[in-house]
Symmetry: C2
Subunit: 380 residues, 2 copies
């Protein structure tokens, strides 16, 4: 699953700003303006301050090996068990839980929802531990992945333990929202699993055997579902009714898809100085990302060229021969880049519409909008 990395001031190739057709001034005003990035950064910092002590206490409560792998994964320990500064990611999902709770229930709901925020962050990290095993990814948050350090069995077991810890935390929560929140989070895990399955399956297929709809459905299950669930849990802890909970879920899902589209654009055209990855990293591994599949299925003349380039196995040094640059150009000429940018803008517009249904006041919606803009206006 994609991970949120450091933000920079540079805005391109982020999603073009989108207003909501029905209520442009209500939502757009709160969402834009020069302070967005700062507001989101401040929210994320406040979230870390609220969530980290409980998150860390939960990990510390695990027995021996599970605790060791967990503390390493969250960046609180080095591989040898010595203390580390902590590097647990940007806390976007717990921030969405708290922002949704605050938007619908004010500051008291934000405080009440801290445990739900911790549970969502634990679920996210359980999927990261397992995805890294399945994808054989060796780097996560600029460090060796847990399975490369502790072996595959312990990474699987630690993921299992984090899922149990997450759902067990909610079961112990006396808040009346805890049972529906738990049921919703458990259902989300099932959706995440199916999404990861479809992703693995799509990557195994030939480039011309994948439809754009399949990739969009996969991205919603794999990325949108947990962002939607985070927002829905915040709404539940604010005592929202079913309709508002569904709207918040829709907001998170659409913002999650916008995020994934931008993430895929960065995977092709992102600046290596910002991403920390080689240029065209996703093209090197022939990833069937959203812009690539949009290009392949566009019917444009460049699509055939792209299909031929994608059909070739990766060879060492192909970036140096200009092959990766040619592939990126083919995606662009077949319309993949423009489609992804427009689709991301459309998804953000839909996200704002969903949000406006449940939270019409711009003041209350501001926190959620700032986070959504933050994750879709990145360069790395």
């Amino acid at each position: 699953m994609a991970e949120f990395m450091t933000e920079t001031d540079e805005r391109s190739p982020g999603v073009p700003r989108a207003g909501t057709p029905e209520e442009p001034e209500k939502t757009a005003d709160a969402a834009t303006g020069p302070l967005d990035g700062q507001e989101a950064a401040a929210q994320l910092e406040r979230t870390r301050a609220l969530v980290d002590p409980e998150l860390r206490a939960a990990i510390e409560s695990l027995p021996g090996a599970m605790r060791r792998v967990g503390l390493y994964h969250f960046g609180w320990q080095h591989a040898d068990g010595t203390p580390a500064a902590g590097n647990a990611g940007k806390a976007i999902r717990p921030a969405l839980v708290l922002a949704a709770a605050a938007a619908l229930g004010g500051p008291a709901a934000r405080v009440a929802a801290v445990r739900a925020a911790v549970a969502v962050e634990l679920i996210h990290n359980f999927t990261l531990l397992h995805d890294d095993v399945m994808d054989r990814d060796t780097t996560r948050r600029h460090r060796p992945t847990a399975w490369t350090v502790f072996g595959i069995p312990d990474a699987i077991l630690a993921g299992d333990a984090l899922q149990a810890l997450a759902l067990g935390l909610l079961a112990d929560d006396p808040h009346p929202a805890s049972a529906p929140a738990l049921a919703r989070l458990a259902a989300c895990v099932v959706e995440l699993c199916e999404g990861q399955h479809v992703d693995t399956d799509l990557e195994r297929r030939a480039p011309d055997a994948v439809t754009l709809d399949e990739v969009l459905v996969m991205a919603e299950a794999k990325t949108g579902a947990l962002l939607g669930c985070a927002c829905a849990l915040g709404a539940l802890y604010a005592g929202a009714d079913d309709e508002d909970v569904a709207a918040l879920d829709g907001f998170g899902r659409q913002a999650g898809l916008a995020f994934q589209l931008i993430d895929d654009v960065i995977g092709i055209w992102g600046d290596p100085r910002h991403t920390g990855k080689p240029a065209g990293a996703d093209l090197v591994v022939r990833k069937k990302s959203l812009p690539v599949v949009a290009a392949l299925t566009s019917g444009a003349p460049a699509a055939a060229e792209l299909a031929a380039l994608y059909g070739r196995p990766h060879v060492e040094g192909e970036a140096e021969t200009g092959e990766i640059a040619r592939t990126a150009l083919a995606v662009e000429r077949a319309g993949g880049r423009d489609w992804a940018q427009a689709e991301a803008a459309d998804r953000m517009a839909r996200a704002m519409q969903e949000l406006a249904r449940a939270v019409p006041e711009p003041e209350a919606a501001g926190g959620l909008l700032a986070l959504a803009e933050f994750v879709t206006r990145r360069t790395s």
Copy 2:
């Protein structure tokens, strides 16, 4: 994790009957006699009839690939998706949930606890799916394991989905016991994970670097914990107080350890005609099972011979040369077999003491005792 296979009429090498020192007549009378096996078999059949429809509905509720792997794993589908007769194991754990509920709360509690029984069975099977991946086991219930059919990623994902399904089922249960049951089951998952880690770790160590206490602690975490949790959940659904819940947990744990000891005895001296495995199967793979570690750490003269035999790598055909028979004899001469039988009897006695604390009436305790006897009086 060890699996309960078919029962036969043959009793040896089952655990010697144990009475409870404090209340011998109360508990032993209800537990023994020629009808034990029949009573347990009838209970297991009733459990399957109550649990299977809900269990299957839960699996059918999963999306595409997760459903396919789940239906295969439980024996309801062949690998190609065509219907199969079903072969989901003996349902010992759900039977313990229902028997504990009935023992403390009568027939109404038994019915109320069905969902908890389904949840426990789902958790057990999630751990089987993951353990088979970690241990690279290729056979489960006489069929190819899920990972050999669907690949490692889908087996990991299906296990993750079963855990979520199990805990989500309890979250949706309006019964007042569902939240504490869920918290207890989640904590049990963490213990199972640590147990599996320790097991993997012990298997990697040299034979002389493992203590008997370590293997006992591991067996309690890996096998005893979920049997204890099953009984505790039944007690919770019967409205039992903390003390009785703890006693039922203790009963299940001790019976689970007795089961593991007998399972380990069968893994060395079991008759291949009953076990379906080659003679001395556990010795072939140099498993550090309880009788072996008891023998290795006994200080007896045969212990040194056993250590030398266990230090040799497995070679094809060593069973034919008599090496496996020599190893089994060394375990026996060093006292490993006698110790395991005595320890199993002792654990069964402790189990009965725990049970008598919460359920002093032999009539009410009969169902649980019959199940405990059933799992410790097997030959395969």
